[in-house]
């Protein structure tokens, strides 16, 4: 089993390296790297300094190595737009806001999605089931950026129940988390419903009933434990969706996180910051996937022997 874990770790590192390579190539190979990294208003001195620093006159592979070297020491360049602040510092500053929002959205998604999926499966064919399925269909079809705008207009402006944007109180979390989690909520609901229906029709559930166990135990202990496995399997895909969601939602709600930072830096063509944002998000994403892989190993005993 340690081989399995080490293998996954190696894959994670490989993925991170691949992403860094992609970013590196993008910045060096397309157009003028100096312009990208320094922006307009760079003096000849700045140019020379940069060329020396990044060894832009050396062969590509050497450049990549120094790129990596710099990255390991935390040097990702300086922001072109925000007055020469260190790019990594800028990004790490905004990271907590994004992580807290993502955590709230994920929590909301999982709890509500699993509950709805279970209820729909148990009451299969009833009005509740139909309702849940309609909600899930809508949730998977509505674009997050539009939903956010509509929610702001209706809930915050029209009804005045919640703040329209910004950060600070728990109330500020509600609309952004809701918007961010909607698509994944719908997907989880459908997944859990399908898995539960499968599980409930299986032989081991019959055996659980034969043992005379209370119905709640049969459903929540025996059926649900098997149904959660596909949810874990899809976590990776969910995270990817949430990243897009983060950029869009933070922009719409003016949330001071790295998603919004990414958007702002696109608008202001601040390449060093974008580059850093992308690398940091990728690292988080890969880390999250790794954790999910480990979780999967923990809950499905069949995986441990397979490797």
């Amino acid at each position: 089993m340690t081989r399995l874990i080490l293998g996954r770790l190696a894959e994670a590192l490989a993925a991170l390296l691949l992403m860094s390579l992609a970013i590196f190539l993008l910045s060096r190979v397309t157009g003028d790297p100096v312009a990208l990294l320094l922006g307009d208003g760079a003096t000849a001195e700045d140019r020379d300094l940069l060329i020396a620093q990044l060894r832009l006159d050396r062969p590509l592979w050497e450049q990549y190595l120094s790129f990596l070297g710099n990255a390991l020491t935390g040097d990702f360049g300086q922001s072109v737009a925000a007055g020469r602040r260190d790019a990594l510092e800028l990004v790490l500053d905004r990271l907590p806001a994004s992580l807290s929002l993502a955590a709230v959205a994920l929590g909301f998604t999982l709890v509500t999605g699993i509950a709805m999926g279970v209820v729909a499966a148990i009451t299969r064919g009833s009005a509740v089931d139909v309702f849940v399925r309609i909600v899930a269909l809508l949730g998977q079809s509505v674009p997050a950026f539009w939903l956010g705008i509509v929610l702001i207009y209706v809930v915050a402006v029209h009804w005045g129940w919640l703040p329209t944007s910004g950060y600070g109180t728990p109330a500020h979390y509600v609309l952004p988390a809701l918007t961010m989690g909607t698509f994944t909520l719908a997907a989880v609901t459908r997944l859990v419903r399908a898995s539960m229906l499968d599980a409930l029709g299986s032989e081991y559930i019959k055996l659980a009933r034969i043992k005379g166990l209370p119905e709640a135990t049969v459903i929540l202990k025996h059926a649900l434990s098997n149904s959660l496995i596909p949810v874990v399997t899809f976590m990776g895909a969910f995270f990817a969706t949430m990243i897009t969601g983060a950029v869009v939602v933070e922009t719409v709600f003016a949330w001071p996180g790295i998603g919004r930072l990414a958007y702002e830096s696109i608008v202001s063509r601040d390449f060093p910051v974008i580059q850093t944002v992308v690398l940091v998000i990728t690292a988080c994403f890969i880390l999250a996937n790794f954790c999910v892989d480990m979780l999967y190993l923990a809950i499905d005993p069949r995986m441990r022997d397979r490797g």
Partner: protein, 276 residues
Amino acid sequence: MQKITFHAALVLLALFVLTAVFGPYLVEHDPLKGSLRARLEPPLWAGGSAEHLLGTDRLGRDMLARIVSGARISLTVCVVVIAIAGSIGTAIGTLSGYVGGWLDRILMRLVDLALSLPVILLALLIGAVSGPSFGNIVLVISLVLWSQYARMARGETLRVKNEDYVDLARTSGLGHVRIIARHILPNIAPALIVVATLQVGVVIVLEASLSFLGVGVPPPNPSWGSMVADGRSYVVTAWWVSLFPGIAILLVVMAVNIVGDALTDRINPALRGRTA
């Protein structure tokens, strides 16, 4: 009840395609030309005129015309992306499944790697470097989607490869290319069609999201996503500019999902609810 929803969804999809193909010839206004005098006019039922049924945007461009053109953009992107991602993905997956061995292992590693990266970020990066463009959006969305085809094609090829009729073809001396073309591809096609159908919704939303952020379809093309972005700053007063394109996206994607689900049920019930 389910049949009604399915047929309604099919009708909606047909409407979408027809609008995308023929719509721009039928609307009277030019989606790209606006008149400053007609800025931010509300739709007909909210105090506007019959001249602009769905109102106008901040440059006086007719909303209806723009939405119709937006349909064409969405459809075009869908078709192109799915064609590219589908061909490449299917080719890689089929080859991988058919040949097996080390080729299979390498290609599947590649797929795993591709899946473990958030490719959206690359879109943002490319957008920042070279600005919004059609090429960017097609490239990036294809990068996101191709691996699903590869996985499905490989799985299906492995299943079909062991069927008796393939053995028969092999013993009758058919070359590999003929076998793949005549026996394998037609039999893996249904599952791939299901994948494609389910992806249409994803493509539309992705394209809209990227355009919303400014790294997708370049202005002044009326992508539904950029239309929503346009109307964002005055959503309180001129709500129609952001609302209608969003509703268009919602309706089309809903219809796609309904049809896709029905197809999944028909072709492979084991996948039901599992395509996230």
